[in-house]
C-alpha cells in the first residue's frame, strides 16, 4: 500500500489521497451500516483519466479496489476492503453536456441523480429513474445497482435510460460503449455493465436519456380495509390495460409509522393505502384516472383523495417517501428488505408474511412498489435485546425464501452486494452463477474490481469449462442427420 501511495502521489494532489485512519473511518460503510470495514486507502480522482491511472496502479500492484458514489447503497456494495483502495467519485460531479435536442445528458459518475432533473427542468425534461434517495445518490451508483424508483413501473429502470458509458476496465483501460445514438454495434456491454455492482470496472461517464415532462399528472390516495383489497385493486388496474406511472402500497404498521413521523394525514383506520399516479397527455390521463377511481371503489376503497395541485400531491407522497426513516419512530432498529414477487401473488405473500410475523413475534411493516411486485418489508427489532437481531435476520431471510418460492427475486433494486450473496444459490444454480462469472472473468480476470460482492464463491478465471467425454452417437439415436 505504501508503494501505491507513493505512485499515486506522483500524479494526484495530497487532498485526493486519504491515509489518515480517522478520516478513513468515515468511509467504513454505505447505507447498510451493519457491515463496516475501514478502507486501506481512499482516493478521490477528478476525472476519467485519473481514475484509469488509479485503477491501473491497483492492477499492477494486485491490490483490490472498490468504487463508491454517495454511499447510500443498501446491500453493502460499496463496503471497502482493508487491503484495498476505495475510489470515491465525489470529485466527479460535472454535468458534461446537456443535449436537449438529443434528449440526452452526459454526466460524470458522481453527479447526483436529482441534479440531472434540475438541470433539464428548465427545458421541459427530466431524468426518469427516481430512487427515493435521489437527492443524494450518484448516477454512477445508480448505474452499478440498476436503481429503480416509484415511477419505474411505467418508465423502466436505470438500464432502460443509459445509452452510453465510458468505463475504466479493471486493468485500467478507458473504454467507450455506446453514446447518444441507440443500438451500438456488437454485444450489449452497456446492458451487461449496468447492474453489475461495481464488479466489472468503474463508470467514469454516463450518457442518459432525458424524458419530456408529461403534460398532465394525476395522483390519488385510496384507503382500504386490508392489503388484500388494495392488492386486488392493483391487479384490477393493471388488468384494465392501464399503465400508471406509479402504484405504491403501505400497510397499517407502515401507515402508523409515517403518521407518527410526518403527520401525512392518511385515512384513519386504513389497513392499507394505495397511491396511484397517472401521467401523460391530458385527455388520456383524465379518462384513465376516472377508471382507476372506479376500480378502487369496486375493490373496496372506503376513501379516495385526489391531489388538487402539486402541494397536495407532495403531501400524499410525503408519507410514502418518509416511510423507511419513519419506522425508526416505532422501532429502535429495523432491516429494510427488498424482494420481488409476481404482482398477482401479492395477497398470498402478504398473508404468509403476516403468519410468519405472528408465529415469530417479529413485527413487519410493509411498504412497496405494488405495481411491479417489489416488496420492501421492514423487519422491526431492538438490538439492545439479546437475540432479537438474529431473530429478525431469520425472518428477513424467510421473506426472501417466500419471494423465491413464488417465482420472484431476492432483490428488485437494492442489489446483492455483500448482504445477499449468500442467498444467490437459493435463486440460481451453480451453473447459472458460474455462467455469470464468465462475464466477470472477461472483464476482470484478476478479480480486483469490488471482489467478494454479488457472488458467494469466486470463479477461477483460468478454468476451462468442464467437458463431457464419451460417445453418444447422435446419428444412431436419430437426433441428428448428416447435413
Amino acid at each position: 500500500m505504501k508503494a501505491l501511495v507513493e505512485k499515486l502521489s506522483g500524479r494526484l494532489t495530497k487532498d485526493q489521497i486519504i491515509t489518515d485512519p480517522v478520516e478513513l473511518r468515515t468511509y467504513e460503510c454505505d447505507g447498510l451500516a451493519q457491515y463496516r470495514v475501514s478502507p486501506g486507502l481512499v482516493v478521490l480522482p477528478h476525472n476519467a483519466s485519473e481514475t484509469a491511472f488509479v485503477v491501473k496502479a491497483c492492477a499492477e500492484a494486485g491490490i483490490p479496489f472498490v468504487a463508491r458514489g454517495s454511499g447510500t447503497g443498501l446491500s453493502g456494495g460499496a463496503l471497502p476492503r482493508r487491503d484495498g483502495v476505495l475510489i470515491v467519485t465525489a470529485q466527479m460531479r460535472s454535468i458534461v453536456e446537456l443535449a436537449i435536442e438529443d434528449e440526452r445528458a452526459v454526466v460524470q459518475p458522481g453527479v447526483i441523480n436529482l441534479h440531472v432533473t434540475r438541470a433539464a427542468a428548465a427545458h421541459g425534461y427530466y431524468y426518469a429513474p427516481d430512487p427515493s434517495s435521489q437527492q443524494i445518490c450518484s448516477i454512477g451508483g445508480n448505474v452499478a445497482e440498476n436503481s429503480g424508483g416509484a415511477h419505474c413501473l411505467k418508465y423502466g429502470f436505470t438500464t432502460n435510460h443509459v445509452t452510453g458509458l465510458e468505463i475504466v476496465t479493471p486493468d485500467g483501460e478507458l473504454v467507450r460503449l455506446g453514446g447518444k445514438a441507440l443500438d451500438p454495434p456488437g454485444y450489449d456491454l452497456i446492458g451487461t455493465f449496468v447492474g453489475s455492482e461495481g464488479t466489472l470496472g468503474i463508470a467514469t461517464e454516463v450518457t442518459v436519456r432525458l424524458t419530456p415532462v408529461p403534460q398532465a399528472v394525476s395522483t390519488l390516495l385510496a384507503g382500504f380495509a386490508s392489503t388484500d383489497e388494495a392488492g386486488a385493486a392493483t391487479s384490477a388496474i393493471i388488468a384494465a390495460g392501464i399503465v400508471p406511472a406509479a402504484i405504491e402500497m403501505m400497510d397499517a404498521l407502515a401507515i402508523e409509522a409515517a403518521e407518527a413521523a410526518v403527520h401525512c394525514g392518511y385515512p384513519a383506520g386504513a389497513g392499507a393505502v394505495l397511491i396511484v399516479e397517472l401521467d401523460g397527455l391530458i385527455e388520456a390521463v383524465e379518462a384513465e384516472f376516472a377508471a382507476v377511481q372506479r376500480l378502487c371503489v369496486d375493490e373496496g376503497a372506503f376513501e379516495i383523495r385526489v391531489a388538487a395541485d402539486d402541494a397536495e400531491r407532495a403531501l400524499i407522497w410525503k408519507g410514502r417517501k418518509s416511510a423507511f426513516a419513519a419506522v425508526g419512530r416505532i422501532s429502535p432498529d429495523y432491516i429494510v428488505q427488498d424482494g420481488v414477487i409476481p404482482r398477482t401473488a401479492l395477497p398470498e405473500v402478504l398473508r404468509r408474511i403476516d403468519e410468519l410475523s405472528q408465529r415469530t413475534g417479529v413485527r413487519v411493516a410493509n411498504v412497496f412498489h405494488a405495481g411491479d411486485g417489489n416488496l420492501h418489508p421492514l423487519v422491526l427489532f431492538d438490538d439492545s435485546v439479546p437475540g432479537q437481531a438474529a431473530h429478525a435476520e431469520e425472518v428477513s431471510g424467510a421473506i426472501l425464501d417466500l419471494c423465491i418460492e413464488h417465482g420472484g427475486s431476492i432483490t428488485g433494486e437494492h442489489g446483492v452486494g455483500v448482504d445477499k450473496s449468500r442467498y444467490m444459490p437459493r435463486m440460481f444454480s451453480d451453473d447459472d452463477l458460474d455462467t455469470m462469472q464468465m462475464v466477470r472473468c472477461a472483464f476482470d480476470p484478476a478479480g480486483l474490481s469490488n471482489p467478494g460482492k454479488v457472488f458467494p464463491t469466486p470463479r477461477l478465471c483460468g478454468e476451462v469449462p468442464g467437458r463431457h467425454k464419451g460417445a453418444h452417437p447422435l446419428q444412431e439415436a436419430g437426433i441428428a442427420e448428416v447435413f
Binding site: 455506446g178 447492474g195 427475486s409 428488485g412 447459472d432 455469470m436 447435413f483
Partner: protein, 329 residues
C-alpha cells in the same frame, strides 16, 4: 449434420456431444436472417430450434410470458392476443422465431414507445457452447439479482450459445391507426413516428396513433427498404442529427426508411456507398452496420469495446465453435 432437439435438455446433450467432438455449431431458427452477419467460417452441426416451441407460461395478470425460443413470433402474439396482450415488438420478420428475434435484436417502429428486445426481455435460459444449461434474470419485471445475461445474449447472433427460453414483460394491446403526411417532418407523437425517404422521390412521414379512425397503414411502414441485390444497412444517429443524416444519404443516392423518434434508420445501399454512408453516420454520432452480408464489405466499421467483446466470446466459447467468424471477430 443437422439436429432438431425438442427440449432444452436434449439440446444440451447434443451440444455437449458437439463440444466433445469439437464441432462448429450454427443455431438456426426460422432461417429468416441466416444471411445476416458474416457467414460462419465452419459449420459441422446446424442446430435447428424449430422443435423448441411453445409458450411455457403466460401469466396475464402479471403481464409476463415465458416462451421457448423456436416459437414463431406471430404464434406468440396470437396466443397473447386472446388475453388482449402483446409482446411489444413489431419486428419486420413476423415469421421469425422468438429466439432468432432476440439473437439478432430486430425491432420495428414501435420501439419509440416500447423500446427493443433489451427493454422487454426479463429472463433467459441458455445452453452454453459446452452444453451447460444456465439461467439469468427471472420472470418478474423488476430484478437486479446477478448479471443481466439476457441483455448480453440479445443481439449476440448465436455466437455465445443457444437461447433456449426467454421471459418477457408484456403490454396491453392497443388499437391504433395512422396519420400520414408529405412535405415536412412534423414532431414526435403517438406510438411511432417514421419516415420513408427514397433517394429519388417524395419523402413521406407517418405516425402510428392510439385509437381507430385514422388512415390505414402505409404500405412501407415497418418494412426494410432494400431489395434483392442491395445491401441492408442500419444507420443510427443522435436525435438532433437525424435530418442531417437523411440529407447526407439523399446526396449519396441512398434510400432510407425508419424511426424519426429514435434515430434508428435502415438504408438500401451499394457496396461502394458504405464508406461514405458510414462517415455520415459517424458524423451524426451514430453507426452504420451492414446487416446483410456482402463479400468484401466491412460490415461494422470500428466497434468501440471490441476487445472486451472478444474476451466475452472467449469465455463463453473458448474454442470458437459457435458461428465462428460471424460476429465480434
Amino acid at each position: 449434420m443437422e439436429a432438431r432437439p425438442t427440449s432444452t435438455a436434449e439440446a444440451a446433450s447434443i451440444l455437449r456431444e458437439a463440444a466433445a467432438k469439437g464441432w462448429a455449431v450454427v443455431v438456426r431458427g426460422a432461417g429468416t436472417k441466416q444471411s445476416w452477419g458474416r457467414p460462419p467460417r465452419r459449420c459441422d452441426l446446424v442446430l435447428d430450434t424449430t422443435g423448441l416451441t411453445g409458450v411455457v407460461e403466460h401469466a396475464a395478470g402479471d403481464l409476463i410470458a415465458v416462451v421457448r425460443a423456436g416459437t414463431p413470433l406471430a404464434e406468440l402474439q396470437s396466443t397473447l392476443g386472446f388475453a388482449g396482450q402483446q409482446l411489444a415488438l413489431d419486428s419486420p420478420f413476423p415469421n421469425a422465431t422468438v429466439g432468432g428475434t432476440v439473437a439478432v435484436n430486430t425491432s420495428g417502429p414501435r420501439r419509440m414507445t416500447y423500446g427493443t428486445v433489451r427493454d422487454l426481455i426479463i429472463g433467459v435460459t441458455i445452453v452454453r457452447p459446452d452444453g451447460v444449461i444456465a439461467r439469468a434474470g427471472g420472470k418478474v419485471v423488476k430484478n437486479v439479482a446477478g448479471y443481466d445475461l439476457a441483455k448480453l445474449m440479445t443481439g449476440s447472433h448465436g455466437t455465445l450459445g443457444l437461447i433456449a427460453e426467454c421471459a418477457f414483460r408484456l403490454h396491453p394491446r392497443v388499437e391504433t391507426s395512422f396519420v400520414r403526411k408529405r412535405g415536412d417532418f412534423g414532431t414526435k407523437a403517438g406510438l411511432a413516428w417514421e419516415i420513408d425517404a427514397p433517394a429519388d422521390g417524395d419523402w413521406k412521414v407517418a405516425w402510428e396513433m392510439p385509437g381507430a379512425g385514422g388512415d390505414p397503414k402505409p404500405e412501407w411502414w415497418g418494412r426494410y427498404p432494400w431489395r434483392e441485390g442491395e445491401l441492408g444497412v442500419k444507420l443510427t444517429a443522435a436525435l438532433s442529427k437525424v435530418r442531417g443524416l437523411l440529407a447526407a444519404a439523399k446526396r449519396l443516392g441512398v434510400s432510407v426508411r425508419g424511426s424519426l423518434g429514435t434515430g434508428v434508420l435502415y438504408a438500401a445501399a451499394q457496396p461502394d456507398q458504405i464508406g461514405d454512408l458510414r462517415a455520415a453516420a459517424h458524423e451524426a454520432g451514430g453507426h452504420a452496420v451492414v446487416l446483410t452480408y456482402h463479400e468484401g464489405v466491412d460490415l461494422w466499421g470500428p466497434v468501440p469495446g471490441l476487445d472486451l467483446m472478444r474476451r466475452v466470446k472467449a469465455q463463453f466459447d473458448p474454442d470458437d465453435r459457435f458461428a465462428p467468424g460471424r460476429f465480434v471477430v
